[in-house]
């Protein structure tokens, strides 16, 4: 069980959080103008990599804020956490 440093509350147990999938996938502003393939790209396609991954997390049993996290999925090392709308501090 990892410790996650919520950008709003500080370090908390993983059990207080909920994972929300891959980060930095922006909802298209004009969905109706997209082809089926383009919409499917947004809707279904996720990288799910072994290694450094950018993820969305929610402090669901805390401040309820969504934020982003950079995690190495092969060893669960958390490289960074940062607020929504911010640029990733690591590559």
């Amino acid at each position: 069980m990892f410790l996650i440093n919520c950008p709003f509350c500080g370090e908390r147990e993983q059990s207080e959080f909920k994972a929300g999938g891959e980060a930095h996938i922006v909802r298209p502003k004009q969905p109706t103008e997209l082809s089926d393939d383009e919409w499917a790209e947004y809707l279904f396609m996720r990288k799910n990599i072994k290694g450094v991954q950018f993820e969305r997390w929610n402090h669901v049993h805390g401040c309820r804020k969504w934020f982003n996290m950079v995690r190495d999925t092969s060893n669960d090392q958390i490289k960074a956490v940062y607020k929504m709308g911010e640029k990733p501090p690591v590559k």
Partner: protein, 1003 residues
């Protein structure tokens, strides 16, 4: 015989405190301080169980948690009975009852022992191979296999003991209180670290605490004396908490560990009342120091499993710690120096050693010379090739090893013994380290895996890190801890050590024999009866990965996870396959390190705390009025209210009829309620619901459908506009938390520019729904000041009002198709308002109804229940709810998905009504729907989602989803059941009052 097995020299045994216990129905005596194993050995008992597959007699092999054989059932026939307990870990107490578990009818005469004779036909993979075919044979074997394959009995009564969980946060956790653990704990605590030291034993000091040998000294003191002073000193440290009888079960990432603290298992049963038996410690440590020591390796030779064959270190512990001799005619068999320490312990007490068999040609250490001086015959360069004796070893035969150690040469010599102590060197206990995600490396010189890459802020010290010599242990512990904690070492300025041992070792994974391997039984895994032959067979049959060999041969798959033999399995694989150690992987040790009881795992979450539930403010009234309850999410909801021995069907029929004929009342408090405010609240609702919200007037309500981005129906409910920038949204009971989460997600991540605020107010309001043709009269009695006329208070509108000066919100909305009102009031007034409604409705036969009747009434109207009639594969179009999808809105969640190539298919499953040919026949929910039963395979068109007998329509009605159902109105379909086919006709899902006359009737 037993008289001369106990030596009254141990300070760990209280000889003034005699303890009686029962083993296999016979009473024995031991002393306080004994383990069950030491007490049995003191009584001359070695044979304690039978092996799993061959039912071979097995004895006590070790003195600790690595024990593979002495697995017993504790507390026979009581609610406390516990299987798979290691006799080596049980501290005896007055009245202890234990029995052998893997034998039938008794440990001395065991029918399964015939498997031993059958062993040529019971090779590795036997079970896989045999019982695959023919299937009918299995039934014949099964009875006998189940009977003879004993893995203990589970208790049949509730556990009377108390368990609990505790969180511990510390700066430094030290696991293991041997020399290095004690030193580490002292250095940490004295340097200001809040430190926790745990050890699985009842005493501190590990195996050094009984090391009274002249051959290893620290600062010129005997090791045990030096260590006692250290223990005395650390027990006074304020910064240090010490927990004995505490075994770390799991080491997870981020230094999160689970440990079991044993509090009462060593006490007589009558002293355990009202005490916590075991505590599961959930430890979060900033730094972890693992000092778990090492486990002695057995040696792998033919018939190496007879009772009386033990680890050499166990023989030493039993004599040094418990004052118990394991045999009167001992032989030690070793490939390294540590067995000579055992020899010295036996020599000092005058216990006979017949010989020492040493694999090594050259032995050059002070301690070995000292042993030789005592006229003990040492066979150098020899190996044991066979052993004899059925229930206890009585003889061994030995032969000379060839130079390369691959074969035996010369003549065979037989030697007598009743105990054979074996030592194959030491294996670092890296189990916890690997659990934490640590990577090992292999050290060629002495053939051990040691920690290499640490995944978190932790370190391994002492022999679990591969340091075996006393000098090495102390020197490396000091330097490692200094660096790890970033401290100056002021505690241990100079520590001088003397050791009479040297570290030479002749490692041979599988010792050669004069017999061919096929004729030998050299056990690698004692508990599961996996032999070297089995491993070689697996390799011959093409298995390579250790994980595959393990499963095929069951090596390491027992409750001991192969703590003794896994290394030998790896060694034999690499030797046979001609590869490097570790190339085929090392097996993964999984938590728990030793088995945990279910009690410890669940802690206090038993009985009513097993799964906590939520009650509505009106709950007590439902209980008092005989309601049956249904679990909906975490909620307890009134299901139906049986009267005068009614069954569920009868109660529901009565309630449903009453609600349509006169008046019904429902506790709807569990519906999710979300308060929505902000200048962009209307725009927000436009984006999350499929229909339009901008034009909803203040004081009006609207039903909304919410989709996922994939276009599938997610939730529904009525939302009311309370003010210009203020709405109250209702959600389904089960969906409340998820809907709030989803709305917050969109607001925070996709539309942060919207000025909208959300609060969950589900628990703040009690919601009472009064419906039926007399609902208006009842509500007007409860709230006389409120104008209920259709002009002032039409359907789908809302009013603020007061009941006894308490503010409330009244909505005229309906989930039943009847004229109805929903009263929302501060939760703590819910019950009194409910009672007021009951009182006001007395003259109108107001009938409380539960969720079942609610479901029936809405089904009559064809209203869906999200999660019952939908399952995340249905769009609003599939539900024939096109009317609620706005064509004008540019975008809303899920809109684009409604015209994907898949969602516009005509043959998707669509919601329809179903009427049975026989109106009395009620369909089963979940039943399959087909058109043609002659086709093979029969094509499944869909399934029944809701089904009831409607007392108002006097016929059976059902909803279901059917492929292309929209265009099948009037078509005949078939519901095939186990013993009949039911004919149904596709119908309009709205069965009752399609025109809404009841809803709009002038009352």
């Amino acid at each position: 015989m037993s008289n001369n097995l106990r030596f009254k020299t141990s300070k760990f045994i209280d000889e003034t405190y005699r303890v009686s216990f029962k083993f296999n129905n016979k009473t024995y005596f031991g002393f306080k301080g004994d383990t069950l194993a030491s007490a049995l050995l003191a009584n001359g008992i070695h044979l304690v169980g039978r092996s799993f597959k061959y039912h071979r007699p097995r004895g006590i092999m070790t003195s600790g948690s690595e024990e593979p054989n002495a697995i017993i059932q504790l507390h026979d026939n009581s609610s406390r009975t516990e299987p798979n307990v290691r006799a080596t870990e049980v501290e005896i107490y007055e009245g202890l009852v234990a029995s052998s578990q893997n034998c039938w009818p008794s440990v001395n005469f065991d029918i399964g022992g015939i498997n031993n004779l059958l062993s040529p036909i019971l090779p590795a993979g036997f079970y896989y191979k045999t019982f695959m075919w023919p299937a009918s044979f299995w039934e014949k074997y099964e009875y006998f296999i189940r009977k003879s394959a004993g893995l203990g009995k589970s208790p049949k009564e509730a556990d009377p003991d108390i368990y609990e969980h505790k969180y511990i946060h510390c700066d430094v956790l030290v696991i293991g209180a041997g020399i290095s653990g004690i030193m580490a704990a002292k250095m940490a605590a004295k340097n200001g670290f809040k430190t926790l030291l745990v050890d699985e034993k009842s005493y501190l000091g590990g195996s050094s605490i009984y090391d009274n040998s002249e051959f290893s000294k620290i600062n010129n003191q005997i090791t045990s004396s030096w260590l006692e002073k250290e223990i005395n000193e650390i027990s006074k440290l304020e910064n240090l908490e010490i927990k004995t009888r505490t075994s770390v079960a799991a080491f997870h990432g981020y230094n999160f560990l689970l440990a079991r603290e044993n509090l009462t298992d060593h006490l007589p049963i009558n002293q355990r009342e009202n005490k916590v038996r075991q505590r599961l410690l959930k430890i979060r440590a900033k730094k972890v120091i693992t000092a778990t020591g090492s486990i002695e390796r057995p040696l792998i030779f033919d018939n190496n499993d007879r009772p009386g064959i033990m680890l050499s270190s166990a023989v030493k512990r039993y004599i040094d710690l418990y004052g118990v001799a394991c045999g009167e005619n001992n032989i030690l068999f070793t490939n390294n120096d540590t067995a000579y320490e055992t020899a010295m312990s036996l020599i000092q007490r005058g216990i006979k050693i017949n010989a020492i068999i040493d694999n090594r040609e050259q032995i050059d250490s002070k301690i070995s010379y000292e042993v030789e001086k005592n006229n003990i015959k040492i066979y150098k360069g020899y190996t044991v090739v066979d052993t004899y004796g059925y229930r206890r070893i009585n003889k061994i035969s030995i032969m000379k090893l060839s130079k390369d150690g691959q074969t035996v040469i010369g003549d065979k010599t037989k030697l007598n013994c009743d105990c054979l102590g074996v030592s194959g060197g030491w294996t670092p206990a890296v189990h916890l380290f690997t659990q934490s995600g640590g990577k090992l490396k292999f050290r060629e010189e002495d053939q051990v895996f040691i920690p290499n890459v640490y995944p978190s802020d932790q370190i391994s010290i002492g022999s679990c890190n591969g340091d075996f010599g006393l000098e090495e242990i102390i020197k490396n512990t000091l330097s490692s801890i200094k660096k790890f904690l970033d401290i100056d070492n002021s505690e241990y300025k100079t520590v001088e050590t003397i050791s009479g041992l040297n570290q030479s070792k002749r490692n041979i994974w599988l010792l050669p024999s004069d017999k061919s391997i096929g004729k030998t039984k050299s056990f690698v895994d004692y508990q599961n009866d996996a032999t070297a032959k089995d491993i070689k067979l697996a390799l011959r049959e093409g298995f390579r990965s250790i994980e595959h060999v393990k499963r095929y041969t069951t090596t390491g798959m027992g409750t001991d996870q192969g703590k003794l033999g896994n290394m030998h399995a790896l060694g034999i694989i690499s030797e046979t396959a001609g590869t490097k150690m570790g190339e085929h992987g090392t097996t993964t040790f999984r938590p728990p390190y030793t088995p945990l009881t279910f009690g410890t795992i669940v802690g206090r979450n038993v009985g009513e705390f097993f799964d906590i539930f939520r009650r509505t403010p009106i709950h007590d009234w439902h209980v008092a009025n005989n309601a049956e309850f249904e679990n909906v999410g975490q909620w307890k909801r009134a299901w139906y209210y049986p009267k005068d021995n009614e069954n569920m069907h009868q109660a529901v029929q009565r309630e449903s009829k009453a609600a349509r004929d006169s008046a019904g009342i429902l506790d709807a408090s569990t519906l999710g309620k979300i308060d929505i405010q902000g200048t962009d609240a209307s725009e927000f609702l436009n984006r999350v619901y499929t229909n339009a919200w901008s034009k909803l007037a203040i004081g009006k309500c609207r039903y909304g459908l919410m989709l996922n981005e994939d276009g599938m129906v997610y939730d529904d409910g009525v939302t009311t506009r309370l003010g210009e920038n203020h709405y109250i949204m209702t959600t389904t009971t089960g969906g409340a938390a998820n809907v709030l989460g989803k709305l917050e997600d969109y607001l925070q991540t996709e539309w942060p520019e919207l000025d909208v605020y959300l609060s969950s107010v589900t628990d703040h309001f009690a919601t009472i729904s009064v419906c039926g043709p007399n609902s208006k009269k009842i509500v007007s009695k409860v709230i006389p000041d409120l104008d209920l006329s259709d002009e002032k208070f039409p359907h789908m509108s809302f009013k603020n009002s007061k009941i006894d000066n308490i503010k409330c919100r009244i909505m005229r909305i309906s989930f039943t198709g009847e004229h109805s009102y929903e009263i929302n009031i501060q939760a703590n007034f819910g019950k009194s308002v409910w009672e007021k409604c009951m009182e006001a409705g007395k003259d109108f036969n107001i009938t409380p109804y539960g969720t079942e009747t609610m479901h029936l009434l809405r089904a009559e109207k064809g209203f869906i229940i999200v999660g019952q009639d939908t399952d995340a594969t249905l769009t609003p179009i599939d539900l024939q709810m096109d009317w609620i999808v706005s064509k004008k809105k540019y975008d809303f969640i899920g809109k684009r998905s409604l015209y994907r190539s898949d969602t516009i298919r005509e043959d998707r499953k669509q919601l329809v009504g179903l009427l049975t040919e026989n109106p009395e026949e009620v369909l089963e929910e979940g039943a399959q729907i087909v058109a043609d039963i002659k086709k093979s395979p029969i094509e499944m068109l869909g399934h029944v989602t809701s089904s009831y007998y409607s007392p108002n329509l006097k016929k059976s009605i059902a909803l279901g989803v059917v492929k292309g159902g929209k265009n099948m109105l009037g078509q005949k379909l078939i519901i095939p059941m186990e013993n009949k086919n039911i004919n149904v006709t596709v119908a309009d899902p709205v069965f009752l009052d399609k025109e809404g006359e009841r809803l709009n009737a002038k009352l």
